[in-house]
Symmetry: C2
Subunit: 434 residues, 2 copies
């Protein structure tokens, strides 16, 4: 029996033990703040959907309703619309993945695939390995099934294989049951870093030899800015990887359509879990996306998104270079995020109210650690604001950080500010920022 809620809650004693793990995330509270128009929000990871021509969607929708209305309005299969699953194979082929249409399970966004995988695998006390830092709402799901998240060190090339090996050894020695490694290997949320090809092979080998399943979450892989990233981990390993994809970033999140590509036996259980949870994902949104993929130049549209986000990434890197030259940050080659390291004595979470007062928002680093880490880091999302607003946001942020440093230098009882030691890749903006 847990002691959730408070004395005003008549059902206080009735909640499941797992409900204790369901706390409001730091990111959640920020969505409210970030929605005020005067705030430059570098907090939420909202795709810039205005770059998608609306007539592409209304056209697809009108044709679906004209040609297939009753099917679009009806219940569908728990596995998803077959025609859409065929298209999903084409999408995954762009990242080197070959799979069977039978092994694709359509889900209500890839978030729901995380939930379903967790539901079928996680017992209380199980361990999930994850990058440090890792995607906040994945960790919320793992914890909601009473698993513990154990972080593995990452650097500018993603997960450090040696650290992974050691972590597994220690956890096994402590009698822990490791269910899977959760990873966003390409343009990670929140750090923006990408696991190198050599390391992908090494990480797969480590997991294989330790009987640990890999949960490869890849929402951003097609949104690269320069050279394409290494092929998906699923492209080299079929039986040991559950691969998650989504249309939220390459099309629009409002449809809530993502998918899992899973080994055959696991796929069967995912379908059953999906049916229990929602009967079937929305036929209506699946068929609109399927029609869009059949008729529109969807690869050209992804190129447009790439250009939009590349410009914003460049604007953010240049502004960081101009306004916060003493700090260090990651340089993502795709995706939505830069991971900024602050001086050691700054706590990004406690600084946030001052930032919002200065009309800029970000996500504190602690949101991305299950263990309290990331205190002097923050995630900066460049996906949504225009390049001009991004520059203005970073300018405001520099005012906040410099004010914080002054305050700390003036009042600190622990002596003068430590020297800033760049740790991740403190790299100057790429040459093309000219």
């Amino acid at each position: 029996m847990t002691t959730q809620g408070n004395n005003l809650d008549r059902w206080y004693d009735s909640y499941a033990a797992r409900t204790a793990g369901l706390a409001a995330s730091e990111v959640r509270a920020l969505f409210a703040v970030a929605s005020r128009p005067e705030v430059v929000s570098l907090a939420g990871g909202m795709p810039f959907v205005s770059a998608l021509p609306r007539d592409l969607i209304t056209g697809a929708m009108d044709r679906v309703m004209r040609d297939n209305g009753p099917a679009a309005l009806q219940y569908g299969s728990g596995q998803g619309v077959p025609a859409l699953r065929e298209h999903i194979l084409e999408v995954m082929a762009l990242e080197g993945i070959r799979g069977s249409v039978d092994d694709v399970v359509v889900t209500t966004g890839s978030q729901h695939a995380l939930e379903l995988v967790s539901k079928i695998f996680l017992d209380p006390g199980d361990v999930v390995l994850a990058e440090g830092p890792s995607y906040v709402t994945a960790m919320v799901v793992f914890k909601s099934f009473q698993a513990s998240v154990e972080h593995v060190l990452t650097d500018e090339n993603g997960l450090v294989p040696e650290a992974l090996r050691e972590r597994i050894q220690n956890l096994k020695a402590a009698g822990k049951r490791i269910k899977f490694l959760y990873t966003v290997p390409t343009f990670s949320n929140p750090s923006g870093v990408t696991l190198s090809w050599e390391r992908r092979l090494e990480v797969l080998e480590i997991c294989r030899s330790n009987d640990i399943l890999v949960l490869e979450d890849n929402p951003y892989g097609l949104l690269y800015f320069d050279a394409p990233p290494p092929r998906a981990m699923r492209s080299v390993e079929e039986e040991g990887v559950i691969y998650l994809g989504t249309f939220s970033k390459t099309l629009a999140p409002g449809f809530r359509v993502g998918w899992a590509l899973a080994p055959h036996a696991i796929r069967e259980k995912l379908i059953l879990a999906n049916e229990a949870a929602v009967l079937s994902p929305s036929s209506f949104t699946q068929m609109i996306i399927s029609e869009y993929l059949s008729t529109a130049d969807w690869k050209g549209q992804i190129d447009i998104f790439r250009g939009v986000y590349r410009d914003r990434r460049d604007a953010m890197l240049l502004a960081l270079h101009d306004y916060l030259p003493d700090l260090s940050w990651t340089v993502p080659n795709g995706g939505f995020y830069v991971w900024l390291k602050l001086p050691d004595n700054i706590d990004s979470k406690s600084m946030l109210p001052r930032a919002v007062k200065e009309l800029v928002a970000y996500t504190p680093g602690t949101a991305f650690y299950a263990d309290g880490g990331g205190r002097n880091f923050m995630r900066l999302a460049f996906c949504y604001p225009t390049p001009e607003f991004i520059r203005e946001g970073i300018r405001r942020l520099s005012t906040v950080i410099n004010g914080e440093l002054e305050l700390l230098n003036t009042f600190s009882l622990t002596g003068p500010l430590e020297t800033v030691r760049p740790e991740l890749n403190n790299i100057s903006p790429p040459a093309n920022l000219g």
Copy 2:
């Protein structure tokens, strides 16, 4: 550690204990059978969406994309679109419910509300009380969280209060933890019966005095054929009821939009669970429904659905009267289902392959019991086929049943066929059937 799957599954030993409870339902296998066009399917509960004019949907969708495209394509709130939640209050008001827009949580169909409620309340070993018979996929969800379902006797007026009282007493005496009573009080799935007003009050009082939450699932309440049913249980009791509603039957299931109306403290946990599961329900489908409710004559459309289903109910009752006069069945005043009682020695599940050979399908009664009950019952859905097909389906069914009886009479080692004892309301078709 569970022993899921088989030796071909490398992850055999990795599944969570709860995954053992995720088995394919009998209804699921039937969907494949029923989709063959030559079969008259009285099995699946698919709404007749063709009765919904498509231009109502395309019109709403075009306006949403024109006026609010970026919001419809974007992530939304974990609680759901505020304008839609306002409309949901209007819908619930038709059944006597007054609530706050703050206490409505939009879900991916009401099925997902069942999943979320179960996730936040059910620990392994907990008990859920449910009508006998009860909705199959609700029981799948409860079992997937390792709860056990205990049935309470029902008759033609729904749950029998005395049986409920006794069941609670016995379970408590056995040290069981009862988390909630799951009920479809109006036009029940599968039996079609409705809990009378007096019994609603009595059931609420029994649950209140035993600290048992009521989970009132009401997908069919607005689809009444004669007089309106009694007001929703939620209309008289606020703190002890979680109410579930859906647009799947009054509009279309392809959108996957339902909702929960919950006591304040519970609602907060439902939102957190919803965010973990899907981040937010689809903005796109929510906004289309909201626009539809703002502009279309949605009450008139529900009247159209009522007329369609009334005709089909009448066709089914008349056909049962004409072709199977010796059997007994329920007479629903709304919803989608008739519950047919067969002679005691017929097993509806083992008879199903013969029925499919005769090109008619139904759902065996055992699907609706967690304990093997319902062997000589079946659910007949009149929602989807035309009245002519329904009549033909019942004719085919009578052939199958009579053939089965002949076979049993000829070869039975247990002596002659028992007399058929009508149990539920073996009532002649209403006068308006002529």
